[in-house]
């Protein structure tokens, strides 16, 4: 009798785990509407796009190896560009994940260890941060989010932490510790990006832990997801990741995650329930979906690193 009970418990656990760890797609498939770009340095061409953000009518792209930001309309037509290689104010090292907030563009400047802020027309406004591991310093910032009150959340990649700074760049607090990686809640393994929801909850792309970590607006750990136990177990099943490189909140509050080595974007509910997945497979060795941005009408623009292009996706019709 005991054996039978144990057997039933084990089978039930396995079935429940299977459901949780191998979820099905719950929406119609996304449709690829168009792509644009292609490798090059002419206007409209890209050389290793690594970040993307949208305003109400434009798409902003980190054109990393060209050390510039390019701006397109939602149809993929080139509008303008700004930035040049260097470390002076307004110049760029390798721009990575982008954020548009309060009518400004926030650019993570990976080589120069700072966040640069521009108008949406490309005029340089200010720089935040400097190299280092101290409060308010960065070692290769990968992504930034801006809260309603103007506070910044910065994924400080090589410092293994996420910092919260006020709008002037003054340090408020941090999660994670420079020089230490870990798989437990609140620990990181090369964090790449942050997104803040309207209610102040913030979502962290915990890059090489292959997971998303979620913190409430008061800074307390809330939950995490990504593979079994969300503890650095990577894979290509739905809801699993193989290096998370960007994260965005959509208009319905859903979370869009760039799953780089799986060449796809995955969509989740805020609680981590898997909803959908889409992307263009790579021909290797470089991979495709490195960053995603979502418009108010649910269109998703994806920075495609391997193909040096932008992908435009629309939700499937029900």
């Amino acid at each position: 009798m005991v054996r039978l009970t144990l057997f039933v418990v084990m089978v039930s656990t396995l079935l429940l785990s299977s459901y949780a760890w191998f979820p099905r797609v719950k929406e119609p498939p996304y449709q690829l509407v168009k792509t644009w770009g292609g490798k090059g340095d002419a206007p409209g061409r890209l050389n290793e796009p690594t970040g993307i953000a949208v305003s109400t009518s434009e798409v902003f792209v980190s054109d990393a190896r060209n050390a510039r930001i390019q701006v397109f309309d939602f149809g993929g037509n080139f509008k303008h560009m700004f930035g040049e290689p260097g470390d002076e104010a307004g110049q760029l090292g390798r721009p990575m994940n982008l954020t548009v907030a309060n009518g400004e563009l926030y650019v993570t400047d990976y080589f120069n260890d700072r966040i640069q802020v521009y108008t949406l027309q490309g005029q340089f406004l200010r720089a935040i941060g400097k190299p280092g591991a101290g409060p308010g310093e960065f070692n290769a910032p990968g992504g930034v989010a801006v809260a309603n009150n103007g506070d910044l959340f910065v994924a400080d990649f090589y410092n293994q932490r996420v910092q919260q700074l006020d709008a002037n760049g003054d340090f408020i607090r941090q999660w994670g510790t420079p020089g230490e990686t870990g798989v437990w809640a609140g620990e990181f393994n090369y964090p790449t990006d942050v997104a803040v929801a309207a209610n102040g909850t913030f979502y962290i792309a915990d890059g090489y832990n292959d997971r998303v970590q979620v913190f409430s607006s008061n800074g307390d750990f809330s939950h995490k997801w990504g593979g079994p136990l969300a503890m650095n177990i990577f894979g290509s099943f739905n809801g699993w990741f193989a290096t998370v490189t960007s994260i965005s909140v959509g208009p319905q509050g859903n979370i869009f995650v760039a799953d780089f080595y799986n060449d796809r974007v995955q969509k989740f509910k805020p609680d981590g329930e898997f909803l959908n997945t889409f992307g263009i497979p790579s021909k290797g060795p470089a991979h495709t979906a490195i960053a995603a941005a979502v418009t108010s009408d649910d269109t998703v623009f994806v920075a495609d690193y391997a193909n040096h292009q932008i992908q435009k996706w629309r939700p499937g019709k029900k």
Partner: protein, 97 residues
């Protein structure tokens, strides 16, 4: 005598050219496909004194570092730089340019 002077000039020219040239180091590194890490290696290496250029060859999994004349990077130094960027170097070779 003329022949000896000519030969000496050739040898002198060759040796000068040899010493004037820099060195190229090739590092074989796994996992270069992700730009977050590949850029991390580039960033660390390009800021090293004497390094003139860094090229990442994704297809071959190679990081190619060109240094100025007279600059020597030791294997330990390069290994440390690559490890600081989050990678494990597989092998290294060097050649005079």
């Amino acid at each position: 005598m003329k022949k000896s002077i000519f030969l000496a000039a050739i040898i002198l020219f060759c040796s000068t050219t040899l010493f004037a040239a820099g060195t190229q180091y090739s590092l074989r590194v796994d996992g270069l496909s992700c730009p977050f890490c590949a850029y991390g290696i580039e960033k660390k290496l390009i800021r090293t004194e004497g390094v003139e250029s860094v090229t990442v060859d994704l297809e071959k999994g190679l990081v190619i570092v060109n240094v100025q004349e007279g600059v020597v990077l030791t294997e330990a130094q390069l290994k440390q730089l690559v490890e600081d960027a989050g990678f494990t170097p597989r092998s290294m070779s060097e050649q005079l340019l």
